[in-house]
Symmetry: C4
Subunit: 178 residues, 4 copies
């Protein structure tokens, strides 16, 4: 995260709502199927605590996913994520509706997505991020590409970047060093 | 994918039917066993969307697997893959029958396989591909070896290569940038 | 493990109680969710045998985890770990209580943790360790950072380091070479 | 596999019985626990076909494991492995009994193991192998260390090495190229 451009940090500074894709972002992109279809999702402990700290710092976390699973609902509830949009075919419309609902401008929102279906939101939000595993067509169109792997640190990296940009990271850390 | 030879691109250009092996191609080759035998398959979101885009571009996707599982049937149905051949001991005969059924010549077909049992099809189809994890005896006999890992991008890489060779990749991408 | 500092070895030499975090230490940090919440944990055979050998050498192993799962209870029972503290929000207090119960000073205890919530224990125990995957804020504050991956050798590495520091590794090995 | 020493190849040439450990050899060492204990094993398709080819070439495969699971029994049955010794605390005795039963000398047997509990067999069999992930104390005492990862090619590599040493690899391959 050391080489974050000042332009990216400036964009991150303005984010009040950070939206996360699920497969390929909160997970490593693997879809686990059993005889009855998808059955498991693998989230990561470091990413989860990053989202918790980000929310405590005043940035609202949200989930926007093309798929739908009870595993995501369970994990989101555990992390206290209130805005969980699943089964969304048209991410652009869902994103626009969420902004209207919350009364936020695009520049106050960030999004992490890993595939071309995420481009309509990535090209509109204020701070667009992608995991390093995303195809070139996606990586070339975002403000920040993660160094840590998707599903294993990429989301934590973004949460810390946002907190660093907003000056809240040191305070969050100090709580554990008292 | 930048170093694709012109010979491989020319072969990819003629493909109308692209056939995918499952274990070691659409998955990373791990076979997950529980007390009653095989129980899970791990597919990848990027590979799935690659197959969807490939089909939309007019290339027919198919599955040809030596094993048989309900997980594959579920995933194939979700991706709209109509030709799903599972439990195939003799891949050469199944391949020949599929070509006859569809009225296609070998040069209009491609196949991705990871092991020596795939050689009878790999040495006959027009565009033979293997994951980088395949044994040398396989890698040495195909037209293209993937850079991305099996079960995590190898299939997406091949789908994009086919679309690039056929001039349909830019149009597919433009749909998400409108 | 070859480059262990003499200061770290001296700290390791005094450890009588070694405490292990679970997620991101005994596992690679992935949290496996099914429809009803967390459902699986992936431990590692090399780590387990390391804990067994460490216990045989006279160092007491313990578990201290923020989460709670039956999988951890099962694995701990199998490894003969008697002190298993799960569902602990306040790790500092639980650590202090365990020391009081066992009549041990902080310098006779070690801890392996992977996140900022572990800092209150890491900054108090005699021998603080972190996996290489831990965030910088954690890695910078421990006496030893593992070379092997979390959930796949990191714990084994620490067990062997402790035994080497205490002069018990050769005897443990000799048992298998008789 | 290119750098196999002539001494290792000579040892491999004499093997009539090849014995495989399970966890950390046929799997990557991860032990998957659910609420009721261990629940899954991840084998690999390339390793499985390697064992099949090895058996067809006339070398008898066997399994020798300290743990016990129905998943191993299922996989072994599928691969036609008749000698499956599970739940073995004393691997040295079980190994000796198997040799007596089959009327084989130690030099006609090989073993792949990943931990110190495997040393009593590794130091007695004719051809001792370890995965690259094994601890140094094991790697230093075997005739061959695999290049491919445990649970994802290590066993295939050994099967092909044996067949190459015994002159049966080309014939096995030719069957798929007819």
């Amino acid at each position: 995260m050391s080489e974050v451009s000042s332009a990216a940090l400036e964009r991150a500074r303005r984010v009040r709502l950070m939206i996360f894709d699920v497969d390929g972002v909160l997970t490593d992109g693997r879809l686990w199927y059993g005889p009855a279809g998808e059955t498991l999702k693998a989230f990561h402990t470091l990413d989860g605590h990053g989202i918790r700290m980000l929310a405590q710092s005043g940035v609202l976390p949200a989930i926007l996913s093309g798929r739908r699973s009870q595993a995501v609902a369970q994990r989101a509830a555990e992390l206290g994520i209130g805005h969980v949009l699943q089964g969304i075919d048209d991410k652009r419309s869902a994103y626009a509706a969420l902004l209207a609902q919350l009364g936020l401008q695009a520049e106050a929102t960030g999004y992490v997505g890993d595939d071309v279906v995420d481009l309509p939101v990535l090209t509109r939000c204020g701070f667009a991020c992608a995991p390093r595993e995303a195809p070139p067509a996606v990586r070339q169109r975002v403000h920040y590409v993660c160094e840590s792997p998707a599903g294993a640190g990429a989301v934590r990296e973004i949460c810390e970047l946002l907190m660093r940009a907003q000056g809240s990271l040191e305070a969050a850390l100090a709580r554990y060093l008292a």
